[in-house]
């Protein structure tokens, strides 16, 4: 049977960054993931904001890890080479009544240790965001907030971990723990047992179920809370910032934000759903977006949409460990109290992405505190480089690349200008892209105005060739989502 020092369940941003942080130690590490790629869960369907940290209640783990995490992003983006921009964000008060809340938010942020918060006058905010609702009464500006390429973060972390010796196993689902004398000795998966000393539960929406397998926290539950979004055609509408309404009991509200890719997105909605896989976009959700977005930008129109999607927040009911704070929705990050060799990170909803490097850091600390021997490697490479992106090159650079590999001259996705060379490079990358969605997340192929109308056939063809598989095996996002059922009659009888 395979044997590892640490097994991480879940290749979301938390699992992958934890793997990457742990890869500096002399440990045998395996990440298992039930889907066919890293970042196939919540880590790829969120607002991609690195929150400043004025939003979480002071004293909570969310507040502490958000603010600490936020500080870590410049170094992380530099080492892992993904797009990150500290563009700042705004909370706009509409009407005089909401203005009071800006002061409360600012005070809360300062208590959390957020630097540079500033309340802007009506004139100032109108100057910065000209098409904002004319009834705006002021805004809170948080200069440390940022945006990132959320797909790239997880992929880069996983690649860097892989370069440093971490193993990944996809299409592999955790089922239960193997325990001897109150100590983890391994896990059972749908693809066999794996021996290990430590398990880190980073299973996102399923972290509660994984936890319950160990017999811990039967009272802890994750209720999926869906957030729906619409992506606007940049030719119709663009906003060059991140714009929130004032928060309510329902959360941070429907915001407008730019992405590192240059699109503008509106969302998310907030609605509890029954099923942890229910990533549908609903009529009611779209209607809610349509209504809410008018508050910030009157005249905003859902007809500008080129794509809609939704993500599920892993909303948990963990009671804040700080007894001075009355809050039951905190992150739950701890060593298991009943069995040894198990660490949970559960209820990682927003600001989970912002906090993710701090969560990884904390997991390393929990391991160390438990007396686990962690010796640093003499040669650890914290750096990973992105592969060339045709769209961002000058024509001279493009030609140099084409001279090396002509496939960089062949454009597969015209809207996003993605070449065959880039797609092939991703298929043969350290964490290989083996599905259409995996290629989409890495290259943005098919995310433009025509939404795969032209590229889909070519991408399927390239995957077929590069992976040396038959077309019937190529899928959108893993087994069960294949594109092609069979050959046509002519093809089968060899007439064509």
């Amino acid at each position: 049977m395979d044997s590892y020092d640490v097994v991480i369940i879940g290749a979301g941003v938390v699992g992958c960054l934890t793997a990457r942080f742990l890869s500096r130690y002399q440990l045998r590490i395996l990440v298992i993931e039930k889907e066919s790629d890293v970042g196939a869960g919540t880590s790829s369907a969120n607002s991609a904001l690195i929150h400043a940290g004025y939003d979480p209640l002071p004293g909570t783990l969310k507040a502490a890890l958000n603010v600490r995490g936020n500080e870590m992003w410049d170094q992380l983006a530099d080492e892992l080479d993904f797009d990150f921009e500290r563009c700042g964000d705004y909370v706009a008060a509409i009407g005089e009544d909401e203005f009071q809340q800006l002061q409360i938010l600012k005070r809360q942020g300062e208590q959390n240790g957020v630097p540079g918060l500033k309340i802007l006058s009506v004139d100032e905010i109108r100057k910065r965001i000209p098409n904002i609702n004319p009834e705006v009464s002021g805004a809170l500006f948080a200069p440390t907030a940022g945006i990132c390429d959320t797909f790239a973060v997880t992929i880069a972390a996983a690649e860097n971990a892989q370069m440093n010796g971490v193993m990944f196993r996809f299409d592999t689902c955790f089922e239960s723990f193997l325990v001897e004398k109150h100590r983890i000795v391994g896990i059972r998966t749908d693809r066999g047992d794996i021996r290990c000393q430590w398990v880190i539960n980073a299973a996102g929406l399923y972290a509660d179920e994984v936890m319950h397998q160990a017999g811990s926290h039967p009272e802890f539950m994750i209720h999926p809370r869906r957030g729906e979004y619409c992506v606007f055609d940049p030719a119709c509408f663009q906003i060059d910032t991140v714009l929130f309404p004032v928060p309510s009991e329902k959360g941070k509200g429907v915001l407008f934000f730019k992405t590192t890719h240059g699109n503008t997105i509106v969302g998310p909605t907030s609605e509890f759903v029954d099923c942890k896989e229910d990533k549908a976009v609903s009529v009611t959700g779209l209607r809610y977006l349509e209504e809410q977005m008018q508050r910030l930008i009157p005249g905003a129109d859902l007809r500008w949409t080129i794509a809609s999607f939704s993500g599920l927040r892993a909303s948990g009911n963990a009671i804040c460990t700080n007894s001075d704070v009355d809050y039951s929705g905190d992150f739950l990050i701890e060593s298991d109290k009943t069995v040894k060799g198990l660490i949970h990170c559960a209820g990682i909803e927003s600001p989970g992405l912002s906090a993710s490097p701090a969560i990884a850091e904390r997991i390393c600390l929990l391991l160390e505190q438990s007396g686990f021997e962690m010796i640093e490697k003499p040669y650890w490479n914290p750096r990973r480089k992105r592969r060339p992106c045709f769209r961002h090159l000058t024509n001279e650079e493009r030609n140099e690349l084409i001279a090396q590999d002509p496939r960089y001259g062949r454009i597969v996705c015209r809207c996003e200008m993605v070449t065959e060379g880039e797609i092939a490079a991703e298929i043969h990358a350290p964490i290989p892209a083996r599905t259409y969605d995996a290629i989409k997340r890495r290259t943005w192929c098919g995310t433009g105005r025509c939404q795969g109308g032209f590229d889909m056939i070519r991408v399927v063809e390239i995957l077929t060739r590069e992976l040396n598989l038959s077309s019937e095996k190529i899928s959108k996002n893993g087994p069960g989502s294949e594109f092609i059922f069979s050959e046509t009659k002519n093809q089968r009888s060899g007439q064509c």
């Binding site: 549908a280 001259g409 062949r410 454009i411 015209r414 109308g453 077309s471 294949e482 092609i484 093809q491």
Partner: protein, 426 residues
């Protein structure tokens, strides 16, 4: 380093419009003509249209798409027209520099003296009509499925529902049935057919595939692959009536919900666009607002018959030749063509009266809603009806055409505008 190659006329797109324009430019005396296409083979969308129904007007023969294309490809070859295939046009400037990219020459800049844009059109996608539900594999545009089946020899499903009664969807319904797949139904939100009536008869009726008018798809179900769709009836205002919802199991949903002229490049050059057609505003020479930039085919507006595409491509090519031969007056007088409801649009939007001396001018129109009774399409110059044409009915899916004969030269020369009306025939 980027080198610059020079041509007289560069045509973007090797579909019937582009090929016709290229051949015509050459025949009208242009020295060097280059056709660029991102596809590996010339012919455009026709290559995947293996059904017959092409060329009845031009050749008096009922040809499959690839055979129709082949006639123009052969002619282009015999005219020594340069074809640059498997090459994407990335950018065009208003001073006629075309930036292209391919595997062999890399990124290059090509200089032209005149340009014909013939990029065709693309299909509307799921996001544009905002169908709620999950995002599984198995939701394709009808054209994507057509290419898979007809060009690649691959079946993208077994059990289909088709949304939209456009021509490609109906043609695919028949094609898939012949391949042994099941086509459950075609669902259309409007109270009338979107495509040609002949396709309804030949592709749906003959294969017992039901058409549900006044219905739409309200939801897509399925996690990894489409498992079913929810079909609902809509009222006169196209509002969904939830109580009529019906779950139809299927593994594939094809979308045939409209075509959009492919005008990203055109917009970037700065050409004036018609918001209704989604194409450039043109005169009867198919010149755009930028002198020397011509357009042809589906990039101007969506045609339903290829014969007209070829004819208009020929016109565009001819005037592109005149443009570079300097016997061209870009300030020639143009008068607007105006349409009244129920006409939705007309192409060309302007005419040059003096060209009537050489040839007749054809105007192509579409109506906003069907009129299932005899109507008269009339052309007026400054209040006076100068000609009319009777149609037994008019439908949005079928283009209406009227020709201004050369004999109307004096009348048109003397007027400030041309106006088109459709009236019930008494």
């Amino acid at each position: 380093m980027l080198t610059v190659h020079a041509y007289d006329v560069i045509v973007i797109g090797s579909g019937p419009a582009g090929l016709a324009a290229a051949v015509s430019a050459k025949k009208n005396g242009v020295n060097s003509v280059l056709v660029i296409d991102r596809d590996v083979e010339p012919g455009g969308i026709l290559l995947q249209c293996v059904h017959s129904g092409f060329g009845l007007e031009t050749f008096g023969e009922d040809l499959p798409g690839p055979s129709y294309a082949q006639r123009y490809i052969l002619e282009a070859e015999s005219q020594k027209i340069n074809l640059l295939m498997d090459t994407m046009v990335l950018d065009i400037t208003s001073d006629f520099v075309v930036t292209v990219s391919n595997e062999t020459i890399g990124v290059q800049r090509l200089q032209a003296k005149a340009i014909v844009l013939a990029m065709g059109c693309r299909e509307r996608s799921r996001a544009q009509i905002r169908i709620p539900g999950t995002r599984p594999a198995g939701v394709y545009t009808a054209g994507t499925a057509q290419r898979w089946v007809n060009v690649e020899g691959l079946m993208p499903g077994k059990n289909f529902v088709i949304l939209g009664s456009g021509d490609i969807g109906m043609i695919m319904a028949r094609r898939l049935s012949l391949e042994g797949a099941r086509v459950n139904r075609v669902v259309e939100i409007m109270p009338y057919l979107n495509g040609l009536s002949r396709n309804y008869v030949q592709c749906l009726q003959d294969y017992d595939i039901p058409l549900f008018l006044n219905h739409t798809i309200n939801k897509i179900l399925g996690k990894k692959r489409v498992e079913a769709v929810e079909v609902v009836r809509v009222d006169q205002n196209r509002k969904v009536q939830p109580e009529t919802a019906e779950i139809i199991p299927c593994d594939t949903l094809l979308l045939s919900v409209g075509l959009i002229p492919e005008n990203e490049l055109t917009r970037k050059i700065g050409v004036s666009m018609d918001p209704i057609t989604g194409g450039a505003i043109v005169d009867n020479c198919f010149e755009t607002s930028i002198p020397g930039i011509f357009v042809a085919g589906n990039v101007v507006h969506v045609y339903d018959l290829v014969d007209y595409v070829s004819q208009d491509g020929t016109t565009a090519g001819k005037y592109a030749a005149s443009f570079i031969q300097c016997n061209w007056n870009s300030n020639r007088r143009k008068i607007p063509v105006i349409v009244e409801e129920p006409l939705r649009y007309v192409v060309p939007q302007k005419i040059c009266p003096d060209t009537l001396r050489e040839s007749a001018i054809r105007l192509l129109m579409r109506v906003s809603y069907p009129m299932e009774y005899p109507v008269q399409v009339s052309l007026f110059t400054d209040q006076k009806e100068i000609l009319n044409k009777t149609y037994p009915y008019v439908r949005p899916g079928e283009m209406v055409s009227i020709q201004i004969p050369k004999s109307a030269y004096d009348l048109i020369m003397a007027s400030q505008e041309v106006r088109l009306k459709v009236l019930r025939k008494e």
